[in-house]
């Protein structure tokens, strides 16, 4: 980041002084080691554990390399623990939540920002008000609501509540508000109705914000634990995150760790591929939140 702003706390003159340069080097080295150990270490540990015989974990936990590499653990986890099945459940739940979130946020923000119906301000206020009520507080009532709509155990029980995400509406609306209004007026003069305006003018211009919301939605959905556990009690329909603690109590440990590895890989790949966007999204949402 120091490159972006020209100069930081430590100036170029400081950097040339030995009593600044040496400690700075030292700090850099220590930080590199520490972040490697703390950030990458646990992931490597999981990868190692997933490919080791269980004996290794118990006899020699500090071992750096498995005594014999057992790729079979992964396939055992995939078939016997049905990790593949749970992973598919996760993908379905996350995918649906992503779509519902994006649709609700985009359509809602479009209506509030561009169409501006009567009571729009009131609705927007009510949406923002939900930001101040922590989601976990209405957990029980939400469960009973889902029960009344007889959505329990169906993926809709996760998809629909995910859509009620005030924060997405907020950042989408701010984005739409910043688009030039003349554009909408010109399109309306040319005879475009609200639906055409939405699909052909607003959506193509909103790609950056759609990407940010999408990434955050997928990462969040992948992490979700409490609500899917409550809403989907049928063991067969549970996502991987909910199934893993249950499996950990009974199954062979190295296959459970193999399952953990499977659960880590998709969000990790997603993060590494889109890290620039995610970093930008976090700094943006964090500052606004």
């Amino acid at each position: 980041m120091s490159d972006d702003r020209g100069r930081g706390i430590v100036s170029d003159i400081d950097r040339r002084r030995p009593w600044v340069r040496r400690p700075l080097r030292l700090i850099q080295g220590i930080l590199l080691l520490a972040t490697l150990l703390v950030g990458l270490g646990p992931i490597l540990w999981t990868a190692k554990g997933a490919l080791s015989p269980t004996q290794d974990l118990l006899r020699d936990p500090l071992r750096l390399w498995p005594s014999s590499v057992e790729w079979g653990n992964l396939s055992t986890a995939w078939t016997d623990l049905r990790v593949g099945h749970y992973l598919l459940n996760t993908v379905v739940l996350v995918g649906g939540s992503w779509f519902v979130q994006l649709f609700v946020a985009a359509a809602g923000a479009f209506a509030l920002s561009v169409l501006r119906p009567r009571f729009g301000r009131l609705v927007y206020g009510a949406v923002l008000a939900t930001l101040f009520v922590p989601g976990s507080v209405s957990l029980v009532a939400l469960y009973l609501t889902v029960l009344d709509l007889s959505l329990v155990n169906s993926p809709w029980a996760v998809w629909l509540p995910a859509g009620a995400h005030a924060f997405n509406v907020l950042i989408m609306k701010q984005f739409f508000d910043a688009l030039p209004r003349e554009l909408y007026q010109a399109a309306q003069v040319d005879g475009a109705g609200p639906i055409r305006l939405f699909w052909q003018i607003v959506m193509p211009m909103s790609r950056p914000i759609l990407a940010v919301v999408s990434l955050l939605a997928v990462m969040e959905g992948w992490k979700d634990f409490l609500w899917p556990m409550v809403a989907i009690s049928d063991a067969d329909a549970q996502p991987l995150a909910v199934a893993l603690p249950r499996l950990a109590e009974t199954a062979e440990q190295n296959t459970v760790i193999a399952g953990m590895l499977v659960a880590i890989i998709p969000p990790l790949v997603l993060f590494l591929v889109f890290q620039r966007h995610i970093v930008r999204g976090i700094s943006f949402t964090g500052l606004k939140g």
Binding site: V140, V230, I264, L270, Q275, V279
Partner: protein, 273 residues
């Protein structure tokens, strides 16, 4: 949108209020019980243990988890090499799903086979009971939670640090301010707004801790890690007493609301001066 928010945001909030004055077990039709749920709740000795535990968790999380990201981000913003690599490494724990992270740490904390006791054993320390002792269980949870959450906070601070104008440092340097004084008198005051918001968000977030105590300790040993959300979960989904669970939820919301209001009022004064 109105439909989705209506069903899954506004209605549940209102319904929490209604539920909190009803007795519901899903079998019989709900009956109005007035404030009975609240008085049952206040009479439950576990409630006070829970409140104490949760406040303890929040305080520990602040002591560990608030200064660490500030320190990391300030140092990271000054390093010229590997800055991209650092950002990725710091964020990695955040990318790991919390449940998986918690299961990992359960291994690390294992008194016999765990990484921590093994490594400390090399230096002749321990073995420590970590999660199995009432005194160390909560700090152990906080350590895991701090590890899991710091990365995103660091990224937010890094973004905020770029908006600190370089001229301020220039001026401070010309006035003869040392590097430490520049951090103290320029960087931290410039970040004040973000720091204050993040502190509040962290307090609110840590009050709602659930996954760590649920998976790592299930509230034990001897109820020393039962948190408010875990108690709500137990009331509702283990005892089937939805009314009392909703009442506790309402109390938690009120408490958080009061904390936020007081905090914002106090800091508004402070940030003006």
């Amino acid at each position: 949108m109105v439909l989705v928010f209506g069903c899954f945001a506004w209605w549940p909030i209102l319904r929490s209020l209604v539920l909190s004055v009803q007795y519901t077990n899903l079998v019989d039709p709900p009956t109005w019980v007035g404030l009975d749920n609240f008085s049952n709740l206040l009479a439950d000795p576990l409630l006070w243990t829970t409140v104490r535990n949760t406040v303890w968790f929040v305080l520990l999380a602040l002591v560990f988890g608030f200064p660490l990201p500030i320190l990391l981000s300030v140092v990271m913003s000054e390093l010229r090499r590997f800055s991209g690599l650092f950002r990725v490494l710091v964020y990695l724990p955040v990318a790991i799903p919390p449940v998986v992270a918690v299961l990992m740490w359960k291994w690390f904390y294992d008194p016999d086979f765990g990484m921590f006791n093994q490594v400390l054993g090399v230096f002749g320390l321990g073995p420590f009971p970590w999660l199995q002792d009432t005194a160390t269980a909560m700090p152990s949870l906080v350590l895991e939670a701090t590890w899991a959450a710091s990365g995103s906070t660091v990224l937010i601070y890094l973004a905020a640090l770029t908006s600190v104008p370089g001229e301020l440092y220039e001026a401070a340097e010309i006035d003869g301010a040392s590097i430490w004084r520049r951090v103290w008198h320029v960087t931290l005051p410039q970040l004040r707004g973000v720091l204050l918001i993040m502190l509040l968000l962290q307090i609110i977030g840590t009050f709602r801790v659930f996954t760590e105590p649920f998976v790592l300790t299930d509230g034990g040993p001897e109820d020393s890690t039962v948190t408010i959300l875990l108690l709500i979960y137990r009331y509702a989904f283990i005892n089937g007493d939805y009314g009392t669970a909703a009442a506790l939820g309402v109390l938690l919301a009120l408490a958080l609301g009061v904390i936020s209001a007081v905090y914002l009022r106090l800091t508004r004064k402070w940030s003006r001066t």
